[in-house]
Symmetry: C2
Subunit: 349 residues, 2 copies
């Protein structure tokens, strides 16, 4: 396989708008900084998860300029130059192309790289790492993008899917399509993690997107990414890596397995990860409750008292408190859409 | 009637445990200090309501020692000696007997007095004052306690009732009895306001309760109430004026009318007094909401955001926030009963 000779890099994509767990999360402290899962932030968990496979010097975090201090504080062992700051928000295609340029400069075309999200949970890190090793093996042998697929457990409409037989990516489906995907057994969730040889992805970008290829090339040839990004980022199209690359290439291999993956897409998803009382209530922080069932109380700010409620989420943080039915927690973004300047406006103090 | 010759006093009973509107109210700031009704506290409204009938020098407030500063700050025009402080909580019988002693000392047996609650709303103050004048006339002529009755509008179980024909007080009924009372048309709500000649009430107390009579007498003979209260209050039985006096005497006259009375017994009762949006939501203070109906949002502390809720009360104040269904707002006290030291414990910081 030649793995021994090729350096391995991990690229942690750590953007995030902070909407899904507002007010616990916010644009200034998006989901990856939440410490409600075992007291350790999700971004720290993401880093520690790959440490047995990738040396810390090769772990690169791509994040927003505004999150620089918070990210460095959370991952103090990371070399300063390994936190690459995007001057503006340009979605995942630009972030991965930037990281590719960094990997090319540091490790050359034969370097292997793993792109990871910063804000997901994996309950089976051992299984995850063995899948990574398997994926790296495939990426070392073949000029493909290896993607990690997760077997669907419910008809999710919030994820993209992978057609495992045809090896193609498909967009987020509507509810009917998602149900069909689930029933067929032929589809996997796209967990947003990609493994590739640097030279292989560079060739794919060259074919599909001059813009992204030029970005990678420019970063790889510059002494550091920052000046290149300041110049190029404002001109880039904002597009996801799935849309710009994965849905357009046939050079895909899928590695799948059950590594306890959870996107933790909103407050309702917490139930699987936090202990509940006999009435199904989840409580964290300063809370008290009487005669409630199925509620989620997160008192990170003021104390939350709940009486006689069913399936309600209450989250307090700083000088904000949010109350909504658990069933609507995936729609939370709409609260910001109807407001003049969205969440950024909301959280300005 | 001789009203011109007899001094008139108003006695405002301003105790309160602060439970019904917690966390907006609390033992340190009970309901009478709420300013959500037109921006003026309920105790201030109570005082201003009787000012056309009673000179400010004759308005006496009986309150807890712990509420002295808040009460004086709220009613700065009241002479300092007109705020009488109870050293401990002993219910309304002791408070009225104390006030009676004060009236006897200042105005003698022929003085007329009105006892009022500090934490109720009256939407028709003009009607109220005309009923007061009528009641004072009755009290000047007859040795009775005149009580103000309110025609029931729903089968309330939270109030005592007055049998208007038999002129007797009856206890808070259960739901079935309350429905019968409402249907019969023979019962009035006891609004807790009494009008009497000082000498007449003294004679009634002498007959019914040596303890209360002695308290009145001691206060009437002392230079000021405070030393007497410090000595006697700890020894007193804690009992309501309704139970100790009104349910045991036949010397009762009832004056009734519609003066827009509302006890405002809890969050659900706010709907009648505060403006609502097209979806029936009431909002005060720092709140935002999306797709809610029939909710009550009071953001006196942190900002409250509500999304997709129906008939929920959310009240924030200081570092506390309460969430409950509107339908259970009269049960709020139970939240404190189940906690080790009740509300006092809850609000200690």
């Amino acid at each position: 396989m030649g793995r021994g000779r090729k350096p391995i890099f991990a690229i942690i994509l750590a953007g995030g708008s902070g909407e899904r767990f507002w007010p616990l999360s916010s644009p200034k402290r998006p989901k990856q900084f939440l410490k409600i899962f075992g007291g350790k932030s999700l971004i720290r968990q993401a880093m520690e998860r790959v440490l047995p496979v990738v040396p810390v010097a090769n772990i690169i975090v791509i994040t927003a300029k505004t999150l620089a201090a918070a990210t460095r504080a959370e991952l103090p062992e990371l070399p300063r130059e390994n936190v690459i700051l995007e001057p503006c928000r340009k979605n995942t295609a630009s972030a991965i192309a930037t990281a590719l340029g960094e990997v090319l400069r540091r490790g050359g075309e034969d370097a292997l790289a793993i792109t990871l999200t910063a804000d997901q949970l994996m309950k089976k890190p051992g299984v995850f790492r063995s899948l990574l090793v398997k994926s790296l093996g495939v990426a070392a042998r073949k000029d493909v993008i290896v993607t990690l697929g997760v077997k669907p457990t419910y008809p999710a409409t919030g994820f993209g899917y992978i057609d495992r037989e045809r090896k193609i990516f498909v967009e987020k489906p509507d509810a009917t399509t998602a149900a069909r995907y689930l029933k067929s057994g032929k589809y996997l969730w796209n967990a947003g993690m990609f493994i590739f040889r640097a030279g292989a992805l560079a060739a794919i970008l060259e074919e599909l997107s001059p813009e992204l290829y030029n970005l990678s090339l420019a970063v790889s040839k510059a002494p550091s990414a920052s000046r290149v990004l300041r110049r190029l980022y404002p001109t880039l199209t904002s597009v996801s890596f799935d849309y710009a690359v994965m849905e357009r290439t046939r050079a895909i291999e899928v590695v799948s397995g059950d590594f306890g993956w959870d996107d933790v897409g909103g407050y309702a998803a917490l139930a699987a990860h936090l202990p509940a009382d006999a009435q199904g209530n989840i409580r964290l922080g300063k809370t008290r409750l009487l005669e409630c069932t199925g509620c989620t109380l997160l008192g990170d700010g003021v104390r939350v008292s709940a009486f006689g409620l069913e399936n309600i989420v209450i989250a307090s943080c700083g000088d904000e408190v949010l109350v909504m039915p658990k069933s609507r927690s995936t729609e939370l973004k709409r609260l910001f859409e109807v407001l003049p300047a969205g969440l950024a406006k909301i959280i300005s103090k």
